[in-house]
């Protein structure tokens, strides 16, 4: 599997960085990628067990830890490529070294089966040989791969799921350490508000309350029990006086703001603006919340020498760097270890709450401190997936073929992840007395798939493409990475535009795409999704059908989605047909789960979600004010998985986000004859589009 150099093998080059045979009968596999509910641990076990020819029950994945390999962030649908690639190469190399040692012992050829090398009567297991095989050697990623039993490619049950169904302790929220105290944070009523007056005596003296901490605008109640911390925080909130906020922006005016504020402009693709565009349009998306079902949680313990932090972060090393920076400590005396939390779809408050716990723990040496955010803070103070404005222009020739394309994307950058900004991007650090406001977010570099510009360049042959990202240099609402970053709205915009062009030229939307699509694997998913959906067959009245397609990041998985909607008094999505090609499939059931989950989440964003804010305060901070898709609203989802065992494996977690939004938008247009360009596609947005003269 030759390809680009795996960054994980640069930061952790030795076999021993990844694999450990020192426990009899067990292979320990290390990873820097976090289990987020996406099933990465299970896929990694399959890779290692298959390659080493051991039963998968013998392989244990150690969660990310700053004592282990540094794989930066669990992001970009790269975990199977990075961690899976590193473990595959390590296992191939390790097996070769063990095989050589076994042959030397046996004095001839050996056969490997279930972790044991055999020649005649003699047999040696990996663990028998562990003392004489030196794994502290650099991984050679170019070795030929052994024949394996085929565990890679077979559906495997997730190793973490049974505990979660049975209620066994598994989450960080379940972790209990002797002597642990619990804390709740009291946030300001709005961004830009400062604490003027506090009356803490009553709360501090309440039963089970240990202390009230105030540091600038950072306020925390520490208690013996979680409910005492919650009650104390509720009580204290009424005893604090805050200054007003000078923030003036609200979510109704975000498009004007993003296109009016000073920006840093980066060319993504260097064509020029089409001279005579036949179709121009503006598309928008709002801020979107992570909205995990479990509020973020962390535990920290300062033992006087080392600060230990347990976190469901996506990146233990970057988080450690920012915690150390914020506390003014040496990184070497801070340890961050990953423990599973509730679902994570990007840079959510996991890192913020880890700092909350760390900060409080430094005030209570020797006592473990667990902090959990409230639901209101989780929906109100998390970094959000940034709002964006996308302007598209396309030029066509007399045959309707696209001959030029232009994209302008406006928005805050898609990453304010820890250690990526000039100062720590930890909420409470910014609220402390001498804290520094969190700088405006940035975008990942082009080589990492960009952020605002992710999937800005269509995967079609459309002549010269001009694409310029305009990153807003003011950030009134903190923005950061949310599943698929800019690809969600960019694919929605491109695919809406393609559909418009198909209609304008009287060509079937699938046919129109195929005319512009040279990529064979792209054509295959479009054709597969169309065929599965019986594309072209007549639909019942009031129904519409639409398609969306993209290759994620231009370098990842290929995905096409067909949506069918029923539009009577409201728009209801009745079915999705999805075709996906993520190369060699490790765990088919895992890929299906990820693709369907991504599509359903995208559907929720697309039909319902929008962070509401005004004057520095997020008002969509309850489930009533930030509704997400419910069981009765989830459509049937049909998945066609195109396995390509001869191709490199690619991540699948984000591939269906953009195409699903696009398919639904196009189906809505098919049903109602109106184009809605502003997400989410709510009844209000549909009415607004119907009334708009430009629609």
């Amino acid at each position: 599997m030759a390809g680009p150099v795996n960054p994980s093998l640069i930061s952790a080059p030795l076999i021993s960085s990844w694999l450990d045979f020192s426990y009899p009968g067990i292979v320990l596999a290390r990873t820097g990628k976090s289990e987020l509910g996406q099933g990465i641990d299970t896929a990694l076990i399959q890779v290692v067990a298959d390659t080493l020819s051991v039963d998968s029950s013998r392989v244990r994945v150690l969660p990310p830890d700053t004592d282990g390999p540094d794989e930066a962030f669990t992001a970009g649908s790269l975990s199977v490529q990075h961690s899976g690639g590193a473990l595959l190469a390590s296992a191939v190399h390790a097996r070769r070294l063990f095989d050589a040692a076994a042959r030397e012992r046996a004095g001839g050829d050996v056969v490997l089966n279930e972790g044991t090398f055999t020649q005649g009567e003699e047999s040696f297991s990996y663990w028998d040989l562990a003392d004489i095989v030196d794994l502290a050697v650099p991984v050679d990623p170019l070795l030929s791969h052994p024949e394996t039993t085929g565990l890679i490619g077979q559906s495997s049950a997730r190793v973490d799921l049974a505990d979660k169904v049975l209620g066994a302790p598994r989450y960080l929220q379940d972790m209990r350490i002797d002597g642990m105290v619990f804390a709740r944070i009291v946030r300001p009523p709005s961004r830009g508000a400062h604490l003027i007056k506090s009356d803490t005596a009553g709360v501090a003296a309440a039963p089970d309350v240990v202390d009230v901490l105030i540091d600038g605008d950072f306020v925390a109640v520490v208690a013996q029990t979680e409910i005492a911390a919650i009650r104390g925080a509720e009580d204290l909130a009424g005893r604090l006086a805050w200054s007003g906020s000078d923030e003036t922006l609200d979510d109704e005016h975000i498009a004007e703001f993003l296109t009016g504020v000073e920006t840093q402009d980066s060319p993504i693709s260097g064509g020029s603006l089409p001279e005579s565009a036949s179709h121009t349009a503006r598309y928008t998306r709002p801020f979107i919340s992570h909205a995990s079902i479990g509020p973020s949680c962390a535990i920290a313990l300062d033992d006087g020498e080392e600060l230990s932090v347990w976190s469901h972060t996506q990146g233990v090393f970057p988080l450690r760097r920012d915690i150390a920076r914020a506390l003014g400590r040496d990184e070497g005396v801070v340890r961050v270890a990953h423990v599973e939390g509730a679902g994570c779809y990007g840079h959510n408050p996991a890192d913020d709450v880890a700092y909350d716990a760390a900060l409080i723990a430094t005030r209570f040496p020797g006592r473990p401190v667990q902090v959990t955010w409230s639901r209101e803070d989780e929906l109100g103070w998390a970094p959000f997936g940034p709002a964006m404005v996308v302007d598209l222009a396309a030029e066509t020739d007399t045959t309707g073929r696209i001959t030029g394309w232009s994209w302008d994307g406006y928005g805050n950058g898609h990453s304010s992840r820890p250690s990526t900004l000039p100062s720590p991007s930890l909420l409470s650090f910014a609220q402390q007395q001498d804290g520094i406001a969190i700088p405006p977010s940035s975008d990942p570099p082009l080589a990492s798939g960009e952020g605002t510009g992710r999937n800005a360049v269509p995967g079609y042959s459309v002549g010269a493409v001009r694409a310029v990202a305009h990153r807003a240099l003011e950030m009134p609402i903190r923005a950061s990475a949310l599943r698929s970053l800019g690809a969600y709205v960019n694919v929605f915009a491109i695919e809406s535009h393609m559909d418009d062009l198909a209609r304008m030229n009287g060509v079937d939307p699938v046919e129109y795409r195929l005319r512009h699509l040279d990529d064979e694997r792209g054509r295959a998913v479009v054709e597969a999704a169309a065929a599965a959906s019986s594309w072209g067959d007549a639909l019942p009245p009031d129904h519409g059908r639409g398609i969306g397609y993209a290759r994620y990041k231009g370098t990842g998985a290929w995905c096409a989605v067909v949506a069918e909607v029923e539009a009577i008094s409201e728009v209801r999505v009745t079915s999705l047909w999805i075709a996906v090609d993520c190369g060699r499939v490790i765990n088919p059931d895992g890929v299906r789960n990820q693709i369907e989950g991504g599509a359903v989440q995208s559907l929720s964003w697309t039909l319902k979600e929008r962070v509401r804010f005004a004057a520095g305060r997020v008002s969509s901070n309850t489930w009533e004010d930030y509704p997400i898709l419910r069981f009765t609203e989830v459509p049937a989802v049909h998945i066609t998985l195109i396995d390509r065992p001869e191709q490199p494996w690619l991540g699948s977690g984000e591939a269906s986000m953009g195409p699903t939004a696009a398919a639904v938008g196009n189906a809505l247009t098919d049903a109602l004859g109106v184009r809605v360009r502003d997400l989410p596609l709510t009844p209000d947005a549909i009415v607004a589009a119907l009334e708009s003269p430009t629609s």
Binding site: L36, G37, Q38, G39, A157, R158, D160, L161, A162, K164, V165, L166, G167, A168, P169, R170, Y171, Q173, D174, R176, T225, E226, I227, I230, A291, S292, I293, G294, P295, E340, G341, A342, G343, C344, Y345, T372, S374, R375, D589, N593, Q594, E596, G597, G598, A599, V600, Q601, S604, T622, W623, E624, I628, L629, R630, F631, T632, V634, A636, V637
Partner: protein, 154 residues
């Protein structure tokens, strides 16, 4: 103030305020962390337990109303031998992060038990309707519904 509750068949006397939600007695006082905190407002279903066999949000059930009743949590259901709903959820790999699942297990198990008592198999629409107050963010809804229907067939 002392409150007597029966949790998963064991009797407990818990000293806490009348208004303390059952959720926090389970998690803080009894160490039963399988019941999840999700919103504290009865809006997401993650904290669902049984009170005298009825699925109930433990986050907005104060101890004064829970006292004297029989509480069953996901751990209690597991102890009796996993409920068919739990078995089917695992067999169907119906979940991703799983944080919503213990509440969904409790709601679905009651639904399945009732259907089986009535000698009938659940339909998709009625499972979706019953679970509509339970939020899942990972998009595992369809797998969950299929697992609950299968559990009612067993």
């Amino acid at each position: 103030m002392d409150h007597d509750v029966t949790v998963n068949g064991s009797q407990h006397r818990v000293a806490t305020a009348d208004t303390t939600p059952l959720l926090w007695v389970l998690r803080d006082s009894l160490g039963l962390t399988g019941t999840r905190y999700g919103c504290g407002a009865g809006s997401c279903g993650a904290c669902t337990v049984w009170v005298d066999g009825q699925p109930t949000h433990s986050c907005d059930t104060p101890m004064w109303s829970a006292a004297g009743h029989e509480i069953t949590t996901v751990e209690g259901l597991t102890e009796r031998g996993p409920h068919p709903v739990q078995t089917e959820l695992i067999d169907g790999q119906a979940g991703q992060c799983g944080y919503c699942l213990s509440g969904i297990v409790m709601r679905s198990a009651a639904l399945v038990d009732r259907a089986r008592d009535q000698g009938r198999v659940l339909t998709g629409p009625e499972v979706r309707e019953a679970l509509d107050g339970h939020l899942c963010r990972c998009g595992a809804h369809n797998r969950i519904v299929a697992a609950v229907i299968r559990a009612s067939e067993a």
